[in-house]
Structure formats: structure tokens, C-alpha cells
Symmetry: D2
Subunit: 361 residues, 4 copies
Amino acid sequence: MFTLKKYVAPDFSSERFTNCPDALFVPAPADFVAPDNYHATTVFPEYFLIGGKWLLVEDSRMDSVVTYRDGKLYATEFRHLRKGDLVCVGRTEEGQEGIFVHTDGFTEEKEESQAFAFRQNRSRETSMSREYDELYDLLRHEKEHGNICWVLGPACAFDYDARRTFARLVEEGYVSSLLAGNALATHDLEAAYLKTALGQDIYTRHNVFNGHYHHLDTINTVRKYGSIPSFIENEHINDGIICSCVKNKVPFVLVGSIRDDGPLPEVYPNVYAGQDAMRDCVRKATTVICMATTLHSIATGNMTPSFRVIDGTVRQVYFYAVDISEFAVNKLTDRGSLTSRGIVTNVQDFVFNVGRGLGLL
Amino acid sequence: MFTLKKYVAPDFSSERFTNCPDALFVPAPADFVAPDNYHATTVFPEYFLIGGKWLLVEDSRMDSVVTYRDGKLYATEFRHLRKGDLVCVGRTEEGQEGIFVHTDGFTEEKEESQAFAFRQNRSRETSMSREYDELYDLLRHEKEHGNICWVLGPACAFDYDARRTFARLVEEGYVSSLLAGNALATHDLEAAYLKTALGQDIYTRHNVFNGHYHHLDTINTVRKYGSIPSFIENEHINDGIICSCVKNKVPFVLVGSIRDDGPLPEVYPNVYAGQDAMRDCVRKATTVICMATTLHSIATGNMTPSFRVIDGTVRQVYFYAVDISEFAVNKLTDRGSLTSRGIVTNVQDFVFNVGRGLGLL
Amino acid sequence: MFTLKKYVAPDFSSERFTNCPDALFVPAPADFVAPDNYHATTVFPEYFLIGGKWLLVEDSRMDSVVTYRDGKLYATEFRHLRKGDLVCVGRTEEGQEGIFVHTDGFTEEKEESQAFAFRQNRSRETSMSREYDELYDLLRHEKEHGNICWVLGPACAFDYDARRTFARLVEEGYVSSLLAGNALATHDLEAAYLKTALGQDIYTRHNVFNGHYHHLDTINTVRKYGSIPSFIENEHINDGIICSCVKNKVPFVLVGSIRDDGPLPEVYPNVYAGQDAMRDCVRKATTVICMATTLHSIATGNMTPSFRVIDGTVRQVYFYAVDISEFAVNKLTDRGSLTSRGIVTNVQDFVFNVGRGLGLL
Amino acid sequence: MFTLKKYVAPDFSSERFTNCPDALFVPAPADFVAPDNYHATTVFPEYFLIGGKWLLVEDSRMDSVVTYRDGKLYATEFRHLRKGDLVCVGRTEEGQEGIFVHTDGFTEEKEESQAFAFRQNRSRETSMSREYDELYDLLRHEKEHGNICWVLGPACAFDYDARRTFARLVEEGYVSSLLAGNALATHDLEAAYLKTALGQDIYTRHNVFNGHYHHLDTINTVRKYGSIPSFIENEHINDGIICSCVKNKVPFVLVGSIRDDGPLPEVYPNVYAGQDAMRDCVRKATTVICMATTLHSIATGNMTPSFRVIDGTVRQVYFYAVDISEFAVNKLTDRGSLTSRGIVTNVQDFVFNVGRGLGLL
């Protein structure tokens, strides 16, 4: 059984907050341009004193400005600023300028501090048993009460069991949305259509004759049908990550990158429009799991706050980064949030483990 | 002194080519869609028999189709295909269908083959002395007779000496074009404008107060001026990678990705338009050097053939991948081309080495 | 069901072998010194023509010399050479000097060769499903008919489930011998004795007060009892890797290294005596599985041939290298033997997977 | 110019120390066994109250016990304990049991603490310019006033320029001692004797015929002469790391490991005797630089304290870990000592940089 930690809101009646001034808002001087001294958001809950009331930015993200419109606060990307938008200014975080960044709303009891401790970062030598057990409990909880957003790199599509397992996760309701790139979708569809991954038999791993044509053939055929769903229907595709999303009506967002072949018709060519579509998924997510993609994981991490407001209540958002590279994992969990977890392993093993841990295999 | 290897063109008068049929071209059935059995290009020179004459695709790249228009052949990306374009079909490479892929035009004398050899891949344990010496000779040659395209990841902007050295390379004519992303440009301009890298003093590496605002402040200020050149002029920016490109009129292409803040005004939001702009630079390049960016390096590698036709003569294109990750380096040099070289090291050291090797520091 | 590939012995009656001279043996000029032009062994079966008969070195290893004594051939380490030992000389491998290195006794059918293929090395992007299925079949086969030697790095002892699973493998007969260092044994015993790994609670991963004393306390207590079995008995140790080996009478060899604390009483301080003890285990092994230790894995790889002679029949030896570092895995599988397999993943996941795949959990 | 930070000794006259009891010493109950509750040392200066006087363990190291003999304190490895030795007990560090661990004797001014900071660990993205400049100053200082111990992995011998540069460092007095393994020495001597590294031409990197014999031939020839100096003299060896040490009478310690071929005659087969020989070098060192060897670097790190007492004055010991793997570097600099520095790069570039920075090339 999984229990969410209770959120401890700031006690704004306490003395330290008595003399805080109202937060200051200044109009954006031009489209895309914030006023000097703008305040930038973090992953934490942030409150702004407006007319004597502390208002929370409910739907936050990192590195945005805070705009005020019709009595409500928004975490707005710089590129969405329009001339005249009211933007909060001030770079103190303890109330001095009417801005309070609440860094310890979900604080765990501290471990006893010691002069000497061995390990700071997640590495290949970090034990994972409890990590996995907690994750299974969390996923079961989120399936019923939350929203699970998965972020997948291409390696997730290169393994027979990983594809099969992820499809089971989709079918059983453990996937609320999927964020990925052209490569993940292409290789997953290649596996379903031609039974290869980058030209190798998906199961035996032997090179197939002219197999290096397979990903191009797959894209070209999807292009011929005009869309992934039409391709799936007409070619009687039955297995894999994307197919299970389509069949189970799980939304997926594919955003382009400069290394793409093709691309598939559903891919966003404009990466900032793609960011917006990704954030639309993330806004609903209460758990985010990123696997084997530094690019997409960091992008998603930037737009994922440590909390979510649901029916007026603040709850934690869980963020997992799973990668075989310690560099990638530590980069993602260096976000100052207790709810970020890193797991250093092969994502194929990870997915398979999760599938078995949840009893789906 | 650097000597280019001579290109040995195929001897099409030899017996093996006597009975080859003409290559077959079929109209594209729809926009973006190639006909079945299309031929896809490689990094090698490829010849197509048309009206009894073997024609070379002069300006090739990987994973494109070959189109024929007005007596000339083009390596065309699938996304640029329009209904009715004539596309070559056939997947044999030895002339059987009028298609000849010339894999050994620059072949080096083979090393004696042995049953047992220790090392296949580039790794941290590969000796680099000769590599560097050859590179210095190559760069001196290319400065006079070629075109050097550099592809840079953000790590290149995080070091005081690396930025300074790269600027010297630009000033001395060793940089013909620069391909990068929003992050490289942002951090380089942050260093020039606020003397920090990701909020740390660029030289002493101490954290600066509110330093995590610096990259956002930099972008916001550039946005205020409307362009990088205007920012450079108005803020009297004097140093760094981008500044030296602007001042020395070296073209640079910045293409967006989903992890971008901002972005800077010059950044392409559409990654496929960005690919086209990158390829426009690569078309002129005779040497390409990629540093510390898997994403941009692979993208560039995909569009870089192993040869270039200059005044009717075929010459080699050199391609270097420099990264601290063996995974990234091997991924890039696994391209089947003798002219791909990998160097496993910290790019800051690499740039500094190159600067000293060329006598610029 | 697992089927061993049949060994195809060289056909010494064929014409190519008709004029081979006898192999030449020269006495070692001094202790530890081989004569000039000595022949060095590989991982392959090697035959030597003696008195008109081709004799196999039955118990081979890499980088040894071949000595002849009492009608039999031995792969002898240089350090075991004594003045006067008869050492084979000659560095050709096709019979020219009476030496034949049989590189393709177990050759698989070749995949069709192609001009272009994507992937050469094992990496995080290599599919693993079939790998695992084959491994389960192999282990079930070897449990009945073979001998499985495991080589473990310390990371194997840092995880609750991995320790538990490995103990199950021992109990169920999947472990014939264990090779490791002082650290693996120390951390495994620390986990059993004090329930921590490097001072962190083995299950919850929280730092324990003065936990950095735990590995030293463990060693000191074992030292007090004089041996690991006595420690296990007196302290009522009940779980873990070493404990299960002791209780199930599975031999383990622990060899020292310069980074050791302690060491535990069973550890070989002399690394070459340790090599001999390791080779005594390896001589019986038909499958070797190395996990998370570059040092011990390479050492074991050096002494593991690709074949074993059992009751006069030559059979394959399987060699697995499992590590999260591609560098380590590729270094190990670059041995020129088809029977070397690499798996790039977290060993904790790997062990857990194997336990479940074999139905032990 | 380099200035050592001044050591700020604890002020034992201050109130907090007034009621400390004398430290307690208990006889070791058996050879190799410490009494319960023994105190284990750290890298920091540690003081023990004896007869009302605070005594410093002058020649400390990590993870040893503290013994008292003839009025002096010693950091003694467990394996050197003999029955009856007086061993300090107590695991508090603030004087409560007469033990004071002085963690901030060289404390730098703290950076202003902030809620948010990007980077904690050393990575490929850490700027290195200042690092190098400080290192050059330090080395010039240590050449005159200190003692520089270098710890080298085999990769240091695989590059033409790196070997040449290290030899220059030796000749110019920048190397006081060298710690390494059999492989470093073997490959360095192979390069000097046969001009190859693992069978590849050391300069051109082409495979040489039967090159895989070269390291064995080198060891065998050294064995024939009986010692490295005799080999160098008789084979007229003139270049490289080991040769320059021999010719300039720089002591080197080579310690064995289980992956060794050979070994060379000078190699310690007993790793604990090897540890003692290493510590004899480290005892004199004021700067330690470890390159490209996790095993030897960690071993050396364990026996290197953060300070040294010279003529009665406490000074800092500098410890550098240089490796291409962030995992290795972070593992080494996670030691709680301000004087540990990590540099993530290819050691060949590092050595070459250092040689040029010191004006030796």
C-alpha cells in the first residue's frame, strides 16, 4: 500500500511573514521579453503575496516567469510572453519581496548528519531493491488515483521483451501518456512491421538482408498511409509500444529532432510547439518515468514541478530517471527535489522488472 | 605537409560493368513518399547508369533517395520528395540494377590480416599522438584549400581556455561554419556577458549569487535587442565563440531542441528547416569536426558523405567525432567510412591542444 | 532445451596437413624464462604435431607457453616455467611449424555479409530478450551436465534482492564455484552481520550511525574468529552470497588487491598464488559468468579457453561478461571467441532476472 | 606563485575542550585483531588527549587504527596489529572520548549558500582552465619544496607523446615517486623495446605482424636479464616512463594484480607487502596525482591523508584524480577532503597539457 506524504503548507500567519510586501508585477516590455529583474520559477511550490493574500502558482514548471491574469498566477515560458503581460519581479525567495519558495513542503525526516559518509550520487553501486518495491506500490496507487506519464528513448524499442512488457503496461492502465521522439516510434513500428530493430531480427538479433532499409521502409509506408493509426489498421499491426497506445487511446506526443529520418507524420517539426504539447501531458501527470533518453528526459524534467494541485490539494509529483549512464541520471536528479529518483540500469531490464513486479507477465 | 589521398574512380570500361542495365527511375506516388524498392544512399560515392553513362550523385548524404532532374542526380531527403519526382529504385550495389556503390575509392593499403588482434574500437586506451599530428596538418591544408565545419556541444562553452581558443581558430580562418544548438550559444554568450557558465564564474568556478538566473538573463537580453549581432554590438561583447563568428562573418546555424530555454532569436524552431540549413553548410565542408554533442554530431554525420566533388574532382571528406564518451564516439565512427575518426577525450583539452598544435596560443 | 553445438575437429588427413613438420620443443633457458620464438596460446583449441600425431592441449588458456612432459601437452604460465622445461617454439598457426590453431571448431553459420551494417559492439542499445532465454536454457543444462563458475564484483553484494537471489542460485545448484575479491566478501558479510552495505541500511538505503565502521567491524570480527566459516557459525549468519557457499560447500576463491582493507583471513595475499587457485576452479568450468568486476573478469577471461575436454570429447565453454560499462564488456568480449557474450546492464537487475527466469523466486 | 593555505590548528585552550577525558587505549586481543570499539582514522588531522596533552597522529591514513608506542601515535593497518599493541577505542570525534577529528584545518571561505545550484559533481562539463593553472603553480612549488607522487594506469603508456612527456617530467624533477602495476611497466617497456603498444605501432597505430606477442616478449626478455635496470642497460633502452625513472633514480613501486601476465621481476606478488611499499612512498608525498587507474588510485587514496607534518608544521596534501570516467573520478574525490580534485579527461591529453603548461615541450 502506498501512502502519499502529506503536504505541509507554509504557515503564513507566523511572524516571519507579517511584514512582507505585496509581490510586484511589471508589464513585459515586448513580445518574448521579460522585464528586468523578473522572477524565475523552480520545481517547488511558490507563493506570491497579492492584495494581502498568498497565492500559489498551481501549475508550475522550472525556469518560467510568473504572470498574473484575471486573479490567477501562471508559470509562463518566455516565448509565450506578449507585450504588456504582467510579470512578477524580484529575486528573493523568503518573502522579502512578496515571493515565497516553499522548499520543504514534503520534507522527509532527516537522516542523522555525520562527518563522514561514503556515497552522494546514484551509481551502479546503489542498491535498488527498495527502490523497485516502492515503485511498484506507487504505480499501483497512481493507476487508481493519479496519472503516469512515460518518456521513452529509442533503446526501449530494441528489445522483444521490453516492447511486449510496455504494451502490457499500456493495456493494464499504467500509462496515461507517452512522450518520445521520431526514433522511438520508428523503431517500435519497424519491429512490429518487419520484425527487426535497426535491421537486426528483433528476437534472434541476427542481421537481416538489407535490414538497414527497414526503418526507412517503415517510415515510408506510414507516410504512404498518411498517419500511424491508418498504417496500423491497414498493415494489421498488432504489437508494440505505439500500437498499444493507439489501440488503448493513450495519447502520445512525438517531437522532432535534427537527427530524424523521415519523419513520421505525427511528429512535431517545431520543437517549441512540441514542448507545449508535452507540457499538456505533463500538466496532468502525478508520476513521470523517463527511460533512456537524455534529451527527452531533461526536456520533461524542465517542465515537471515537484507538486500538483488536485481538487485544491497539493500533492507530490514523482519523477524517475532510468538510464545506463550515471551522467544522465545524476544530471536529472540534481534538481533539488526530494521526489526525483534515479535508477542506473539497462532500461530493457528495468521495464521487464516493472512488468513482473506488477504481475503483468 | 598534408597530402590528400588520390581518388581511384571505378573503371567502368572493365568487364564486370559491360552488361549492367540502366538504372530504373519511378515517379514518387505522393508528396513525401518514395516508390517501393527505392534505393537509399550511403556515405560512399554512388554511380547510376543512365543512357549508357555512369553518373555520380555529386552532393550525396546518407539515407536519402536519388532523384533525377534535368540530367542531374540528387540525394533527396524523403521529406523533400514531391509527387512525380523521379526516384531511383533497386537495392543491389554492384551494378546489377545500374547502381554502383563505390566503397573503396580511397582505400588505404590494408594492414596484414591476422587471426588475433586486440582492439577494434576507439577507447580511452587508444593512442592519440599521431591522430593529433595528422589533424594539425589537415587543418592547415583545409584552411588554404578546403572548408572546415565545426559542430559544438554546450560543454565547449563551459571553459575559459576552450572559448578563448575556439575564438582564435575562428580569427585565424580555421572555422568555415559552425553548427550548434541553443545551449551552446546561450552559455557562450552568458560567459561573455556575465562571465559565468551555468552560474559559476567562468574562470574560478565559484558559484555566483543568483547565478542560475544568468542563462535566462542572457537570453532575455538578446531577445530584447532582437538578434545576437545587435546584442553583441549594444552590450559591447568582445569574446567567445559566437562573438568571434559574428565579427569574422563565419556563418553559424543554431537549431532548436525540446530542452531549450528561450530560445535565442536565431534558433530554428523547425528542426527539419534546421536540417536543411545545416546541410547547406555541410555541402561546402571538406572536413567536419564534431565535439561533445551526440545529437548534433549524429545529425551532421547523417548528412556528411565521405567525399566531395570540387571542380570536377572527387576528394575525401574528413569527419572527426570528439567526445568523452566512447559510446558516442563509436556510434559516430561506425559509419563504414575510412575517413571517420574518433577521439575520446574532454573537448576542452582537445580544443586547447588543437590551438597550441596550430601555434595560435 | 539446450543443445551444445557439435565440435568439428580438424581433418588432419586432408591434404593441407600432409607435409607439416613436427612441432619443435626447446628447453627453457632459465626459471621463468621461455626460449626465443616461443609459441603463445590463444583461447582456441591448438594442436601440435608430435611424432606424426596431432596432439591437443587439453587444458589451455591464453598467453601461456606450451610445454611437453610425459607424452602430454600443458598450457603453462611463464611464471611456472622451470629451467629445462620443453617449450614449443614457432609463431605460425596453420601447420607450417607443426602448430595448428583451430579457430572455427564451433563455427556458427555465417550471416550473409553486407556492405553496410549498423552495429558491431555490444551497447546499451542491444536487445537482450533472446540472450536471457538462451542463458536460462544454458544454466539449466549446465546444472545437470556442466560446471558454472561465477565471478563477482562488490556491487553484487550491495543489493538486498541480488544477494538473496544469488543465495538461491547457490542452493539450487547453479553455482559450482565463486571467484571474487576481499571487497565482495566483506560487503556481503557486512550485509549479513550488520544489515548494511557500505554503512547504508541494505534495504532502506538510509545511512546508519557510524555505518562507515561496519565493513571494518565485519572484517575485524571475522579475524577474531579466525575464519569465515567460524564467523558464520558463531555469529549465526544466515543469509547472503558467502554464507550460502559455505553452507552448500561451494568452493570460493578470494584474491587480494592493493585496495583491500583487512583482509579477511581466506584472502590470498599473493596474487599469482591466487591466479593458480582461480585457474583450478576455471579448469572445471564449462560456463563462466562475470559480473561487475573488470579486474576479476579480465583475470578470469585470460585463463578461460573457449573449449573444454570432457571424457575425451571437446565441448564449448560459455563466457558471459555482465557490466554496466560498455568499455568493460567490450574489452572482455573482444577475445575472438564466438562463445563470449556481453550484457550491458546493472548486475543487480541481471541477477534478479536470472533468478526469476529460472523460477527460483 | 603558489601559496599554501595556512593550517589553523584546533585551539585546545578553548572552553569546549576543557572537560575532555584522556583517550582510552586497549591492548589488541590477538594478532591482526583490534579491540571492540576501536577508533578508525580518516583523512583529517586527528588529535588524542594523552596525559592532558593533545597529540597528533602525524603520519595518518584512512581506515587504520591508532596505536600508541613510546610516547608516539601511529596509524596502523589492522594487518600490522600484534597482540598487546595499545589501540585507541572510542567513536566520537568531538573530544567526548579524548579524540578530536579536525575537519576544517584548511577551510576555504565558504561560497554563499543558495537554495538552488546546478552542479555538484565533477563531470565532463566542468570547466578546467583554472584547475590547470593552479596545478602548474602547485607543481612548480612542489618541485622545490615538496614531493610529488604519481600513480599511473596502463593507458598512460599507450601514447607516444604521453610517454615522452612523462619522461620529461621525470627528468625535470617533477616526479618524486611512481606507483603502478605490472601492465603500465610492461606496456611502457614494450613501447621502448619494440615500439608498439599492445601490438600496435606506438606512433602510427597500425597493427604490427604478431604484435600480440610483443608484451609477452618484453616480459620474457626482462625476465631473461633478471631485472628492469639490467634489461634497460643491455637492450640500450632510451625512452619512456620506467627508463627515465631508472636513469634518474626515481623510486617506483609496481604491485601485482590477478590480471597480470608475467610478471616483471620487480613486481610485488604479495599485494599487502605492495601496499606497505606504496605507503612508504606516499608518506613522503605532499602532492599525489593519480591517472587512469581506478584500482591503484583508490588504493593510494586510502593511504593518503589530507595533511603532512614537515619539520613540525602541518601542511596540506594535494590529491588529484584524473580519469575519463566520471564514476572513477567522483569515487575518488568523494573523500570529504577539500584538497581532493578530480579532472575528467583523457590522461594522454592531460599529461601533454601538463608538460606544455610547465614549459617542458
